[in-house]
């Protein structure tokens, strides 16, 4: 019984990790419907940023937020403005997709060039210390990630629902032409949305770096699951992506323990395929939302 509880706790913590990595993607891919395959590399750069700040200055890794989040915001906004915006005019979504794949490859190789292929370990500053909650044991850093994921999800939802800028983002996603007619600077909103999405993954990077080794390929490890989670939850549903993260985390953990660790991905993607066959619009997506995936 205790073992099952521990396995479930591990699953939830893993789910929290997927959730925090995919929050930014929910906004960029789920709501604004632009595919960004360099999302994982933004995470990787943020993790290196955290590593540099922590090891060079000897500060607590969370202090790196002050540097990493603004830098990633700018990087995201620039990526949209300089790479994706010029391609949007072509009207062909595939070109954007390939462009972000290209950016992803370029960033991985840039990281190889600058940091080398060796693994960089961010000093954990007590974040790898275990905490006992009843019969289960988790790491302090995992709990922080889980709580931060909830805070980001709730915060993003409130931002989109309550603020003028948040509503403008949704308006652009739903009807670009009408948004322009409302006086919304559509290009500015796209750049801003990308900036916010990248800033979210910056927060994730700062929290993830002390727990996981950083290497040029760190991003690819997380990003595929992040895409799965956003689609599984239902495009555009932020709460759905969170629920999807927890589900994938639990399946991964349970299958890894009871079936075998090499079966984890088979279980995760098997369930993913099954859900898509039964509910093509995802767990919490409505059919209406899929109607304008390619605007």
């Amino acid at each position: 019984m205790d073992i099952l509880l521990q396995v479930l706790a591990n699953g939830l913590m893993l789910g929290g990790l997927f959730a925090i990595v995919s929050v930014g993607l929910t906004l960029i891919f789920g709501i604004v419907k632009v595919v960004n395959f360099a999302h994982g590399e933004f995470l990787m750069l943020g993790m290196y940023g955290t590593y540099l700040v922590t090891s060079a200055l000897g500060l607590h890794p969370f202090v790196a937020v002050i540097a990493v989040v603004p830098v990633l915001f700018i990087l995201g906004a620039l990526t949209q403005r300089l790479l994706i915006q010029p391609l949007m005019a072509s009207g062909d979504d595939h070109i954007q997709i390939f462009a972000t794949v290209g950016l992803s490859t370029a960033l991985i190789n840039l990281a190889l060039l600058v940091f080398g292929a060796d693994i960089a370990n961010t000093p954990p500053h007590g974040l790898r210390a275990p905490v006992e909650i009843g019969p289960v044991r988790v790491l302090t850093g995992q709990i922080v990630i889980f709580l931060a994921a909830i805070a980001l999800v709730v915060g993003l939802q409130a931002f989109l629902a309550r603020t003028q800028t948040g509503r403008a983002i949704r308006a652009v996603a739903q009807n670009r032409a009408a948004a322009e007619l409302m006086g919304i600077d559509v290009k500015r909103i796209y750049a801003l949305t990308f900036g916010i999405g990248a800033a979210c993954v910056g927060v994730a990077a700062v929290l993830v770096a002390p727990l996981y080794p950083t290497s040029p390929n760190s991003g690819t490890y997380f990003v595929l699951t992040a895409f799965v989670v956003v689609v599984l939850g239902g495009l555009g549903s932020i709460g759905g992506a969170f629920a999807g993260s927890l589900l994938i985390g639990l399946i991964d953990s349970v299958a890894g323990f009871y079936v075998g660790s090499d079966m984890r991905e088979i279980a995760v993607f098997g369930v993913f395929l099954l859900i898509l066959i039964l509910r093509p619009s995802g767990l919490f997506g409505s059919r209406l939302k899929l109607a304008h995936v390619s605007p």
């Binding site: 003028q164 509503r167 403008a168 949704r170 308006a171 739903q174 009807n175 032409a177 009408a178 948004a179 322009e180 007619l181 409302m182 006086g183 919304i184 600077d185 559509v186 209406l288 939302k289």
Partner: protein, 234 residues
């Protein structure tokens, strides 16, 4: 207030408007009459900044606005209520109306404007918390007009407000348009119901194959043989 001088515009390599000149004075109600494909919508979209003229000049309140984009025109006070409503389907009616007041000059007074606009549209008030996509066509058109008014525009442009609506709804839409016209807003309207529109308008232009072929007082156009034959079916 608004002046187009020798404007050419179109989509890509296709030029639709040829040498269009027209003007609208403050407080006036002006209509553009023409067959399908004559370039009426293109004219409105060009004024709204969604299309950039390939030649010619557009001025608004004495300033050159030829190259301004859509959102910049809204900031100047030019609002287009587009054909086919173009609401935000997954937003509530209230959120749609608040988006209408995105323009800086309208944002500060958004609560006050909302009350004023809802006075005009009691049916819209009942639907405030519903998703705009769930409304009937007539209700959506009312929301689209209300959303346009939320911007407190200096010039309000209507593109086919009665298109695709049931006859009984059409008369409701016209009642609303008439009230807006009488409230003193400057209006430029394109509408397939030429007879009704010429009765509320001060002046009209007749657009054929992208060119202005006739311009006159609305009353004179109602009496004009060509207009009567081609557009009124009399």
């Amino acid at each position: 207030m608004l002046r187009l001088e020798g404007v050419h515009a179109g989509y890509g390599a296709t030029t639709i408007l040829h040498d269009v000149s027209l003007d609208v004075a403050a407080g006036e109600v002006v209509t553009i009459i023409g067959a399908n494909g004559a370039g009426k919508t293109t004219t409105l979209r060009t004024i709204a900044g969604l299309l950039t003229p390939t030649a010619g000049r557009i001025t608004f309140e004495g300033q050159d606005v030829t190259r301004l984009s859509g959102h910049e025109m809204v900031e100047r006070g030019v609002t287009l209520i587009p054909e086919g409503r173009q609401l935000f389907p997954e937003m509530s009616v209230r959120e749609n109306l608040l988006m209408g007041a995105y323009r800086r000059a309208a944002r500060a007074r958004q609560a006050e404007t909302l009350e004023e606009v809802l006075e005009l549209f009691p049916r819209v008030r009942e639907r405030l918390d519903q998703n705009a996509g769930s409304l009937s066509g007539g209700e959506q058109q009312m929301v689209a007009i209300a959303r346009g008014m939320m911007a407190r525009p200096k010039l309000l442009m209507f593109d086919e407000p009665s298109l695709g609506l049931a006859p009984i709804i059409v008369s409701q839409v016209f009642a609303v348009v008439d009230r807006i016209v009488r409230s003193g807003v400057t209006v430029l309207i394109v509408e397939q119901n030429v007879f009704h529109t010429l009765q509320v308008a001060d002046r009209g232009y007749v657009l054929e194959n992208g060119e202005i072929v006739l311009r006159d007082e609305a009353k004179a156009l109602l009496a004009n043989d060509h207009v009567r034959r081609a557009y009124l079916g009399i």
